[in-house]
Amino acid sequence: MTDNDSAAAADENLDVSNLPGGAKAAVEAVLMVLDQPATATELAAGLNLTVAVVERLLAELQREYNGYTVKAPDMDVASDAGFSASPRGFELRNIAGGWRIYSRTDFADIVGRFVLEGQTARLTQAALETLAVIAYRQPVSRARVSAIRGVNVDSVVRTLTQRGLVEDAGTDPESGAVLYRTTSYFLERMGIGSVAELPQLSPHLPGLEGIEEFYDAGRM
């Protein structure tokens, strides 16, 4: 794909403009999967572009999504004076300096209806168990919770985060994995003042260290 075979620091050498769709598509690719808003500076650093270029691309994408401009096939550059197309179902917003793609506000009713469908007010057993593990072993990574529960917990952790019961507690300095902890909303729902007030578990349960060894041995 790229001819960075001679790249000493392969990372630094990547030229996004050689990729299909160019730098603009690269910015788009990142924005599309990014959970947290990113600043132009953060984007520029990861993309090997200058902040000025990223800012121009962001503005271009924003206009494109809003339907004000479309890159015509026979033009080399997008033009503001270009023809107008329909707006997309999503928009690029800059909130407090961070950029993120959201669903377009016009569709809030439809999206809201879609989101609510099939939502229950109760946590599933899987979600409860995962919450219990996080509560007693926090701060803990998803991989560790998976190891303890024996199943993949990614989507359950997302649900718990969405429900405001658990939150990001920084990253593990060693593995770089995101760690999770329970929130004050969780304490509120439990009716306790702090995690220290959670009932003690029976002492025969292996500590986190024990579990770690036990399960890591099985990891391939």
Binding site: A108, A121, L128, A132, R149, M190, P206, I211
Partner: protein, 270 residues
Amino acid sequence: MAESKPGFEVRLANFTGPFDLLLGLIAKHQLDITEVAIATVTDEFIKYIRKLQKLGEDWALDEASEFLVIAATLLDLKAARLLPAGEVEDDEDIALLEARDLLFARLLQYKAFKQVAGLIGETLEQESRRFPRQVALEEHFAAMLPELVWKHTPGQFAKLAEAALEPKAPKPTEVGLGHLHGSAVSVKEQAEILGLRLQLGNPLSFRALIADAESTLVVVARFLALLEMFRDKVVAFDQLSPLGDLTVHWTADGQDWSTENLSEEYEEQP
């Protein structure tokens, strides 16, 4: 290359050439069949068949079934050579030959899975280069979610945590009879191990006694050993609740005990 079928060639440490020639040489006792690595032949053959399929040859299936027949014969030959008397007559010999065929068939099957495993690995690798959009729900939508129903007391929640944190016992699996032939586990040896541990004085749970068992077979052997030791009145069992932990006590204080006393019924080698 295109004008005639290339034919299957074998490349072994001690022979390179067409498969037919290999068979001929073996038949004429010019090559020792016991020196032929069947696994390598199989590898080569599968490579060959795949090449044919890439070329769109529709007789690949015929070749394959032919190869199976020949390979089976080859195995017969090899087995016959390896048998002490060099003859394939009585039922035992035939059974042995069938076992070898089976082994070979399994080898082929194993190779097939190895190959698709490679393909699956490649696909997973390729796919891992795509990232799905799975962002958290936008705040105004999250705010629309129905208020959570929460009915757990801290005590109930702790119970839930205990259950979730309890190391999971391996789920039951059937006892593969195949292993019995592979690695014999001696009940006597296991009894020896258990005896030494229990004579230290502390009662131990069955779970603890099998914690280091490297296979299901060892677990079974230890279980049988305990039954034997119970019969010899050197151990006693305690179980507080149905399906609860089984605790084993050593009861043969000071008394001489040796695994030599164990009955022989499990020690018969097939």
